[in-house]
C-alpha cells in the first residue's frame, strides 16, 4: 500500500507540470495566431477568398523551413502558420516531458512506450509520407 501511495504523489507532481505545460503552449500559440491574424487582416482584408478547390501548392507554407523563411518578412499568414506550428508542438512537447518523468520514476516500460510514440510523430515530421 505504501508503495502505491508514493507512486501516486510522484504522479501528482507530474500531472501538475504537464497541465501547466499544455496551458502555456495553448495560450502562447493562440496569442501568436491572434497577432498574425490582425496583421493578415490589416494587409489582406479586401482580397477575394477562393477555397472552393483544394490546391496543395497554394498555401505555400507546407514545410517548417518555408514557414521560418516567410516569417522573416513578418507576413501575417506566416505569423499565423508559425503559431499553428507552436500549437502542433505543444502535445509533442508533452510526450517528451512524459518520457523524462517516467525516466525519473524508473518506469522504463513507459519510457519505451513514450519514445515509440515520439518516434511515430517524428517520422511523420520527416515529410516522407506526402508524395
Amino acid at each position: 500500500m505504501s508503495k502505491e501511495n508514493k507512486n501516486f504523489f510522484a504522479d501528482r507532481d507530474i500531472q501538475i507540470i504537464l497541465g501547466t505545460l499544455l496551458r502555456v503552449g495553448v495560450i502562447a500559440s493562440m496569442s501568436v495566431v491572434f497577432i498574425g491574424g490582425l496583421v493578415y487582416l490589416a494587409f489582406n482584408h479586401s482580397e477575394v477568398v477562393n477555397y472552393s478547390q483544394f490546391d496543395s501548392a497554394k498555401s505555400g507554407f507546407s514545410t517548417i523551413s518555408e514557414i521560418f523563411i516567410e516569417l522573416g518578412d513578418l507576413k501575417g499568414s506566416a505569423i499565423i502558420q508559425f503559431g499553428i506550428l507552436l500549437l502542433i508542438f505543444t502535445p509533442i512537447m508533452r510526450v517528451v516531458f512524459s518520457i523524462f518523468s517516467f525516466l525519473i520514476e524508473r518506469d522504463y516500460l513507459y519510457v519505451l512506450i513514450g519514445a515509440f510514440v515520439l518516434c511515430v510523430i517524428l517520422f511523420s515530421l520527416s515529410n516522407k509520407l506526402v508524395g
Partner: protein, 287 residues
C-alpha cells in the same frame, strides 16, 4: 471555377468574420454537448461557405489540438486523467491517425463527405444515449497489470480504485478511432468513448479526461501530414482555431451551471440534419 459555384465570392474580411462567429458557436455547442467543435465546423465550412473539404479538415484538426490541450490542462491537474492508459493507447492512435491522414487525399471527397455524415449520425446517437457506468475493481487481465493501467481517481468519498478490462479490444477500437480522426480531421471522441467506457470499462470521469488527453497528440500526428500537404491554410485555420477555442472556453464555464439534457436532444436533431445533408451532398457529388 467560379461559374459552377453557388457560393458568392467573398472578401477576406467577411470570410474571416463569418468563420470566426461560426467557429465560436461550434466550439460553444461542441463543449456543452461533449461532441467537440470539429464535427460542427466542417459542415459549416463545406455546406455553407463552399470550402473544399480538404481545407476544412486541415482547419478542424488545428481546433481539435487547441481545445483538447486546453481542457486537458485543467483535467490533468485534478488528477483524474490516467496518463499511463493515455500513453499506452497513443501507440494505436498516433500510428492510425497518420495512416488516416495519408490516405484521406486519395479518397474521393464525396466518399469522405458520406463517411463524415455517418460518423456524425453515430455521434449524435451516442450523445443522447443513456450512459451506463460499467466500471468495477474486479480482477483484470494480465495485460492491464503488465502495462500498469489499473488506477484510482479522486471522488467525494476519497480515492476510488478501478480495474481495466479487455486491453486488446480497446486498443483495436482506438486504432479505428485514430484512422477516422486522421481521415476526417475530428477528435472522434464518440469512438474513443466506446473503446474506453464499453470495451475497457473505465469509469466515465477517467475515460472522458483521458480521451481528451490523448486527442492532442493524436491530432498533432495527423496535423503534421496535413501541414506538409498544404491542407492547413492560415486564412481558414486562424478564425477556426481562435473561434472554436474561445467558444469551448466559454462553454466549459457555462457547463458547470446548466443542465444540458434538453440541449443535447435539440442539438442531436440539428447534428442529424447536418449529417444527412453531408451524406446527400456526398452521394450527389456536390462536395
Amino acid at each position: 471555377m467560379f461559374g459552377d459555384s453557388i457560393f458568392v465570392p467573398m472578401s477576406v474580411l467577411l470570410f474571416t468574420i463569418i468563420v470566426l462567429l461560426g467557429a465560436f458557436v461550434a466550439g460553444l455547442v461542441g463543449s456543452l454537448t461533449g461532441l467537440g467543435g470539429g464535427v460542427i465546423i466542417i459542415p459549416l465550412l463545406t455546406l455553407v461557405l463552399g470550402v473544399d473539404i480538404h481545407y476544412a479538415i486541415g482547419a478542424s484538426i488545428i481546433s481539435v489540438i487547441a481545445t483538447s490541450s486546453g481542457s486537458a490542462a485543467a483535467y490533468v491537474k485534478e488528477g483524474i486523467t490516467n496518463i499511463r492508459i493515455g500513453m499506452f493507447l497513443e501507440i494505436a492512435t498516433t500510428i492510425s491517425a497518420i495512416i488516416g491522414a495519408v490516405i484521406t487525399v486519395f479518397i474521393n471527397p464525396s466518399y469522405i463527405a458520406v463517411i463524415f455524415g455517418i460518423i456524425l449520425l453515430f455521434s449524435a446517437a451516442m450523445m443522447v444515449r443513456k450512459k451506463v457506468d460499467h466500471s468495477d475493481n474486479d480482477t483484470s487481465g494480465k495485460l492491464a497489470v503488465f502495462f500498469k493501467l489499473n488506477g484510482a481517481y479522486p471522488t467525494e468519498n476519497g480515492m476510488k480504485n478501478y480495474a481495466v478490462h479487455n486491453v486488446i479490444g480497446g486498443f483495436l477500437m482506438m486504432f479505428i478511432a485514430g484512422i477516422i480522426s486522421g481521415l476526417l480531421g475530428i477528435g472522434s471522441g464518440a469512438l474513443k468513448v466506446i473503446a474506453m467506457d464499453n470495451i475497457m470499462r473505465i469509469p466515465f470521469k477517467v475515460s472522458t479526461t483521458t480521451s481528451n488527453f490523448m486527442m492532442g497528440v493524436t491530432a498533432a500526428a495527423s496535423a503534421v501530414v496535413y501541414l506538409h500537404r498544404g491542407q492547413i491554410d492560415p486564412g481558414i485555420a486562424m478564425p477556426v482555431a481562435l473561434g472554436v477555442l474561445t467558444g469551448a472556453t466559454v462553454g466549459s464555464k457555462i457547463l458547470v451551471k446548466t443542465k444540458t439534457d434538453k440541449l443535447k436532444v435539440i442539438f442531436a436533431v440539428v447534428v442529424a440534419f447536418l449529417a444527412l445533408q453531408m451524406i446527400y451532398n456526398g452521394v450527389t457529388g456536390k462536395l
